[in-house]
């Protein structure tokens, strides 16, 4: 049985090698003070695919996600070791500019968190601080394009200068996605982006994620098995800070090799 599993994992890895690997983590360990949250995680994230991170609460999937754009830096007691690479470059290297890294690896959070400013300013803020645009008309173009890509433009085109906080929850989350893609990132990290949304808004965001896959590498943390099954191509199962299993989504959901994964996706615990 074990031998067979190993074989299958190798197959999967081989298949992925055909895809370009965008980000990779090797022996990633994270601890918050005394408490270790991640143990030797090895995970490759293929380019232009959606990778779903699943697992019960407190298993470290969000921690891993936040390592990928060094959002954990803001927490004083958080220590990260191991090797995380973006396009074969160590992102924890000393010469790496965190600001530039976060422009390349954007993030969408669990709760929609638009700035308490106008919709236009929300989307235009990133391009402005990174100097991506030279003129006002350029900025307008970027904002409109980002909103269009996020599928929000048609709904709010007359309200561009009204506060972003006045939108509905689903619209706010798509606004946050538009804000993230406005700086043309290569990778977008999403931390349970639909957990605060109703099913209709969720469907819209999932549709959007599927569309965005063409241009961006996406890593999504989710508690919904169905969502993972619907939007992702690769799924990684975390448990108690360890990566239990990673494989193509279809394989994981139809024929998981690990008993824990099986139990989790069939709803035994979680």
């Amino acid at each position: 049985m074990d031998a067979m599993n190993t074989k299958r994992q190798e197959d999967a890895v081989n298949k992925m090698v055909q895809n370009e690997i965008k980000m990779s983590g090797k022996d990633v360990c994270v601890s918050y003070g005394e408490k270790q949250a991640l143990f030797d995680v090895n995970l490759d994230i293929p380019a232009k695919q959606v990778t779903a991170l699943i697992g019960p609460s407190g298993c470290g999937k969000s921690t891993f996600l936040r390592c990928l754009n060094r959002m954990n830096d803001t927490i004083d007691i958080c220590k990260v070791s191991g090797d995380i690479r973006l396009d074969d470059q160590d992102i924890y290297d000393h010469d790496i500019d965190v600001v530039e890294l976060r422009a390349r690896v954007g993030m969408v959070f669990q709760k929609p968190n638009p700035f308490p400013k106008s919709i236009f300013e929300n989307v235009g803020y990133g391009p402005k601080i990174h100097g991506l645009v030279r003129s006002k008309s350029d900025l307008e173009e970027v904002v409109v394009k980002s909103l269009q890509r996020a599928g929000l433009f048609e709904e709010i085109k007359d309200r561009l200068h009204e506060p972003g906080t006045g939108l509905s929850g689903g619209q706010q989350q798509r606004l946050c996605i538009a804000r993230a893609i406005a700086v043309s990132p290569e990778v977008i990290l999403m931390d349970e982006p639909c957990s605060a949304l109703d099913p209709i808004a969720t469907a819209k965001v999932e549709e959007l994620i599927d569309e965005l896959r063409e241009n961006y590498t996406i890593v999504i943390v989710t508690h919904s098995m169905q969502q993972a099954a619907r939007v992702s191509q690769q799924t990684a199962m975390f448990h108690l800070g360890k990566l239990v299993e990673v494989d193509e989504t279809d394989t994981i959901f139809t024929n998981p090799s690990n008993q824990k994964t099986q139990d989790y996706i069939t709803g035994r615990y979680g």
Partner: protein
């Protein structure tokens, strides 16, 4: 207990639960009424306080001015400041009050006009040179007691028009007054009342003296200490003399009280009675029911008047107990009748600096001093405080060192303000040798005092900004500085501004630390800059409250009103700013 499901838990009956509920509602109601009562009581005290301050202060906002015909023909329009205005004012007063012609009368008349009248006239002429070389009616402030009298705050008169004809024996000098009816009876009764209350007051004093006399006698009789006996014997003699003096006075008063037939002599310890007859004024010195003896203060034009054409003016406050004599009352009343007195906005109070004369003292110097001091305080404490708060809240590593700093800042907020004054004295004045009494140093000391307030308020405001905003900014690649300055700080601004304005309001009302650095100095000139000696509003109030003149008591209340006005204004600004910058997230 045999029925239904619950066999081992005893449940309360419906009645029991209902009574419990009733008790609960009763206690809720009680608490509500207690709270309401507390609010009403404090509101009552607040209203009382405000009413006292406003009631005392409002009169000081206006002042009475007297119009004097001043001969300015000798003033050289080229050098208007050189002329002898004191002389001009003196002769103008003599012209306006001709009936006070003897030396004593002239001095009295001059005393009704403010001592600063000459300077005031000079300033007016220098300000408007066209007045020079002419005879002009110039308005000058009256003296402080004349002003108090005109406002009804001292020597309050009771005016009546008696129903009797009057005849006066002469138009000036000592006169006899005869009436057609006994209208003086009522006044006489009041005089008797005054006599008996005076007698009873003497009686208590005598009783007290008697007590201490007995005490001393006992010491003299029983004490072993020869020294004590000696001194007791000395005090016995002096006490006995005093007591004998009181006794004679008391007996005389009793005789006067009981003797209804005799004429009552009105000395300065009795109520005053002035008669306004035929264009003049007679001050009554001896009185009985239908006739009186008196002395003419302002000469009469006619010696007789029929009922309703003359007035009786009683002043119950004894002349010796007030600082405004009957003669002065008569002259001021005459000036009012001539239309020379005008009550209008007290421009001196709003335009001038401090003065020893209540009528010349103004609040403007203190207002300007407060303004400069507040500017310095704001310029120092706001940027420093906000920068410190931002660093501590957003950038500082969380370690022992920063936590020690944090605790110390919180402790600083509780340090008594006078300690900051001592610090200012020791460091700013003695070590750095900065100018004493200057708004610069005052502002620096108050800035030290305000800093902890601003830092604590700013940190709380920064902490209240949700972390999701910070994450959002960092997530799109803003640097930490950008995240703080573009997103966190604007959201924290209303809280920071509110804290700052509250700190400033506290500093505006602060007296103690400024006393230490010499801002309590008597400064007549309005300060022109931050290095000039100055005082501030609360210190000015403190100084005025210390002066015994009743004119200053009014000023004190008025200055408190000005200070309260500024504080209300600052709080209103705080509310407005908070409303304007408030954003929801």
């Amino acid at each position: 207990m045999t029925d239904t499901t619950n066999t081992y838990v005893k449940t309360a009956s419906l009645e029991e639960r209902r009574s419990l509920q009733k008790k609960r509602y009763a206690s809720e109601r009680k608490f509500k009424y207690l709270g309401l009562g507390a609010i009403l009581v404090s509101l009552g005290f607040l209203v009382m306080l405000l009413m006292t301050i406003v009631g005392n202060g409002i009169p000081a906002f206006t002042y009475n001015y007297v119009k004097l015909p001043i001969d300015l023909t000798k003033v050289d329009p080229e050098k208007p400041e050189k002329a002898n205005y004191g002389k001009f004012v003196k002769s103008a007063i003599a012209d306006a009050i001709p009936y006070m012609s003897d030396r004593k009368g002239k001095r009295l008349a001059r005393g009704l006009v403010s001592g600063g009248a000459a300077i005031d006239v000079r300033n007016q002429v220098v300000g408007d040179v066209s007045m020079a070389g002419q005879n002009a009616d110039v308005e000058v402030p009256v003296s402080d007691f004349a002003d108090l009298y005109l406002k009804g705050l001292t020597a309050k008169p009771i005016l009546t028009k008696p129903d009797a004809a009057i005849k006066v024996s002469d138009v000036e000098g000592d006169v006899d007054v005869t009436l057609s009816a006994a209208v003086f009876d009522e006044f006489l009764a009041r005089v008797k009342e005054t006599i008996s209350s005076e007698a009873s007051r003497l009686n208590t004093r005598m009783a007290n003296l008697q007590l201490s006399l007995d005490n001393q006698r006992e010491i003299a009789a029983n004490s072993q200490d020869t020294l004590a006996v000696e001194s007791a014997k000395k005090s016995i003699t002096s006490l006995e003399a005093q007591l004998a003096g009181f006794k004679t006075k008391f007996d005389a008063l009793i005789v006067r009280r009981n003797n209804t037939a005799a004429r009552e002599v009105l000395d300065t310890s009795m109520p005053s009675l002035l008669l306004k007859v035929g264009g003049g004024v007679v001050k009554i010195t001896e009185v009985e029911g239908m006739s009186a003896k008196g002395e003419v203060i302002i000469p009469l034009e006619q010696k007789e008047a029929s009922a309703g054409e003359w007035q009786m003016q009683e002043i119950l406050e004894a002349e010796e107990n007030r600082k405004f004599s009957d003669k002065e009352v008569a002259v001021v009343d005459r000036l009012v009748a001539e239309g020379r007195i005008e009550n209008r906005l007290n421009t001196i109070f709003f335009k001038k600096g401090a003065s020893r004369e209540p009528e010349l003292a103004g609040i403007w110097g203190a207002v300007v001093g407060s303004f400069f001091t507040m500017i310095i305080t704001l310029a120092l404490s706001f940027p420093l405080g906000v920068a410190a708060a931002i660093y501590l809240e957003e950038f500082a590593p969380k370690n022992k060192f920063t936590s020690i700093i944090e605790v110390n800042i919180n402790n600083l907020a509780a340090v008594p303000s006078i300690v900051f004054g001592l610090l200012g004295l020791a460091v700013f004045l003695n070590f750095f040798e900065l100018p004493r009494s200057a708004p610069l140093v005052g502002g620096m000391v108050l800035a030290l005092m305000t800093l902890p307030t601003i830092i604590i308020a700013s940190r709380a405001a920064l902490k209240a900004v949700p972390p999701s905003i910070r994450e959002a900014a960092l997530g799109v690649g803003a640097s930490k500085i950008q995240a703080v300055f573009h997103h966190v700080l604007p959201l924290a601004m209303p809280g920071i501004l509110t804290g700052t304005i509250i700190g400033m309001a506290q500093a505006l009302g602060e007296t103690a630390p400024l006393l230490m650095i010499g801002m309590v100095a008597f400064v007549v000139d309005v300060p022109a800059g931050i290095f000039d000696p100055a005082t501030v509003l609360p210190v000015q109030i403190y100084m005025w409250a210390d002066f015994p003149e009743p004119g200053f008591q009014q000023k004190t209340a008025a200055a408190i009103m000005v200070l309260l006005g500024f504080l209300i204004l600052m709080n209103a600004i705080a509310v407005l700013l908070r409303k304007k910058f408030e954003r929801r997230w």
